[in-house]
Amino acid sequence: MEQLPVPASPKIPTSQQEAQDTVQRYLQMTVDALPKGTSLDGTRYMVGSGTTACQDNPSGPDAPVHFEDWRDMKLPPGTDFTGIITQTGEIWKKWGWQVIERDGFTKPNRFGYAPDGYVLQIEARPDPNQPPSLIGSSPCYPGNLRNDKIPRPPIIQQQG
């Protein structure tokens, strides 16, 4: 059975803003480390707020939720999609994250587990001619912190 890494120093978000800011910071750091011309396009995934319950039957207003941010990768022409997935995993490793390829998802894929409990995942498409997707997820936090009104940037461009 596949064993998933356990975060070394988990940090439960204390606000919705913190969860979103942290996910988006990790996504920004990732895109900044990739080849020039790369961006993360979330315009197809603006449905909902990105926040979802961690339990099927939430026990009350405090029942935990977590935040996810889904993106299509826009890559420079001619990019090797398999290579970019491997490269992204290596970037996360350099940050001290645990990185694995998981079963059950389209391969190649890489899941990066941060020490604070946040997760990034880059995954090939079922159609290998399409560029990969990238998703960031926060740890679960109390549901009474949920705020569905905080906007997400449609596109994350490289900075600097």
Binding site: M1, E2, R44, Y45, M46, V47, G48, S49, T51, T52, A53, C54, Q55, D56, N57, P58, H66, E68, W70, D72, R102, D103, G104, F105, T106, F111, V119, Q121, E123, R125, P126, D127, Q130, P131, S133, I135, S137
Partner: protein, 543 residues
């Protein structure tokens, strides 16, 4: 109006149906007379001023006859609704009486109270808890009975002229006037064809006759949304008025103060208070979902006052990929958000699986159109699924009938007991008009094999279950074999094993594993996205 169990026992739906048949016959005779005038041979050969004058008079006469026939029909419809509702109330009461007898309790028909039976077998504390549970069910039945009583009184007042009969439309197209004089077609395709020919005024008139018309299969989803939102506003106002009235009657109880000594009045008030707040919270939860501002439409495709609703993300009539999510045990309208969250996740997963799809190409509907078991003990019974099967069957057939453009790829995803309902809707004489069925954490689908399900030609059945999902243990295999057994014949796909409970070394199943399927880090969601997107490759479970 108070109605007792003894009153319900005296009800005879047959008598009310006679009113329906008599008024219906009268309406048909009048409509026949109106049609007959239109086809009199003299009007085909006669010409000149006198003929034109006669023609005008004829039009007026036909209009008057149509109006009279429609009035008779309004009474007939009201009687029919009352008779149907009486049957339902009596059926629910019979079921409750049987359950009460099984528990060695009894119902006093005059006071409408659940009482200890002649033989007391359980400790008093257990007995009281049982009685309270049954009393709540009885109170709900009595409340519905009071509403039926009022419906019937309304029909009688209309028939005797004490109440005005609602206005009625007149359509110069004889086939449309004829269609409006009859019950609307049950067949979704026929309903859709008729609906498309009606004027806005005629549609609005039909809504005034029946505030649940937005649930009729075959109506375009945008029209369902229009009429169901009107109904939602009305139901919300009624529920708020009920809460306000109860609060006024006992302000201290409404503030949460509990009397030192319990009384029947307190018990009755508390039961009504809980039910009214539950209803209001359910309607508010629907309103919240409809107010989403992410740029995608939210469509209220189903609504009633019995805890049923369906909310679509995107427009199913225009979508190329159309999914319906059926939640399971314990999901209730006040918690609609958690089910809608799962639909959002599946919407995203479908887009992720196929980057050529745009958001407008996809719709995911959260369908809560059946009475769901509220705990795992209840979930061992097939009754909830069997009772709700026709509703899902009709809803899916309706979406096919109203869909615009080339046929969409339709998928139904059932979670937990929702998959049992899906199984019931595709067996036992029902047909589910879909291309894919997905059973997630299923306790059984009431059939032995996937091939026993009645689906569209070439349809696929998928199944997944987290390794530590305890669902089969909880229900004791009373609902059929697990769809994830090889012998069932479903296409299985990978799900994360889910968390365990107890000491790690024992790796015991956990309730959390039953609900861990909709996170981005779970391959089950990835695979559901592929199926909804119309892809046929999923990742099989690893040993």
């Amino acid at each position: 109006v108070t109605v007792s169990v003894a009153d319900i026992d005296r009800w005879d739906p047959g008598d009310v149906r006679e009113v329906f048949h008599a008024t219906r016959s009268r309406a048909e005779a009048v409509f026949e007379a109106a049609d007959g005038i239109a086809t009199l041979p003299a009007f085909r050969t006669w010409s000149g001023d006198a003929a034109r004058a006669a023609q005008l008079a004829n039009e007026q006469l036909r209009s008057d006859l149509d109006a009279h026939g429609t009035e008779s029909l309004a009474v007939a419809r009201a009687a029919q609704v009352a008779a149907d509702d009486m049957v339902k109330v009596r059926s629910d009461l019979s079921q409750l009486e049987a359950d009460v007898a099984d528990a060695h309790l009894a119902i006093d028909p005059v006071t409408s109270r659940v009482m200890p039976g002649p033989v007391i077998r359980d400790p008093m504390i257990v007995l009281l808890a049982e009685m309270e549970k049954f009393q709540e069910r009885l109170n709900a039945i009595l409340a519905r009975a009071a509403a039926v009583d009022e419906e019937l009184a309304g029909a009688i007042r209309m028939a005797t002229g004490a109440d005005p009969i609602p206005d009625s439309p007149h359509d110069n197209r004889p086939e449309i006037q004829d269609a409006l004089s009859k019950p609307l077609p049950d067949d979704p395709k026929q309903f859709h064809d008729l609906w498309q020919q009606l004027t806005r005024e005629e549609r609005d008139w039909l809504y005034r006759q029946n505030h649940s018309i937005g649930n009729d299969p075959g109506m375009p989803l945008v029209d369902k949304d229009n009429y169901n939102r009107l109904h939602l506003d009305e139901l919300t106002r009624d529920a708020q008025a009920q809460v306000d009235q109860l609060a006024r009657s006992h302000p201290e109880w409404a503030r949460g103060e509990v009397p030192l000594i319990s009384s029947r009045e307190w018990e009755s008030w508390k039961s009504q208070w809980d039910n009214a707040n539950h209803d209001l919270n359910g309607y508010r939860a629907i309103q919240n979902e409809l107010q989403s501002n992410d740029g995608l439409p939210r469509i209220l495709g189903l609504l009633d006052d019995k805890g049923h609703a369906a909310v679509s993300i995107g427009n199913p009539d225009k979508a190329k990929r159309n999914a319906t999510f059926v939640p399971g045990t314990g999901n209730d309208l006040p918690h609609l958000q958690s089910s809608m969250d799962k639909s959002v996740q599946m919407f995203q997963a479908a887009l992720r699986a196929d980057p050529t799809l745009n958001p407008g190409d996809v719709a995911v509907t959260t369908w809560m159109g059946y009475d769901r078991p509220l705990d795992l003990l209840d979930a061992a019974s097939s009754g909830y699924a069997v009772n709700g099967a026709a509703n899902l069957d009709a809803f899916e057939a309706g979406m096919r009938a109203s869909h615009e453009g080339p046929q969409s790829i339709n998928t139904v995803i059932g979670h937990s007991y929702g998959s049992t309902l899906v199984g019931a809707a595709a067996s036992g004489g029902h047909h589910l008009d879909v291309n894919n069925v997905v059973a997630v954490g299923s306790p059984g689908m009431l059939v032995d094999r996937a091939s026993d399900l009645s689906l569209d030609p070439g349809a696929s059945v998928y199944a997944t279950r987290a390794r530590f999902d305890p669902i089969n243990l909880a229900t004791g295999f009373t609902l059929g074999p697990s769809p994830t057994w090889d012998s069932f014949g479903a296409i299985q796909f990978q799900a994360a094993p889910g968390p365990t409970t107890g000491p790690g070394i024992l790796a015991l199943p956990s309730v959390d594993a039953h609900s861990s399927y909709w996170s981005a880090g779970n391959p089950a969601l990835d695979n559901m996205g592929r199926v909804i997107a119309g892809l046929t490759t999923v990742t099989p479970p690893t040993p």
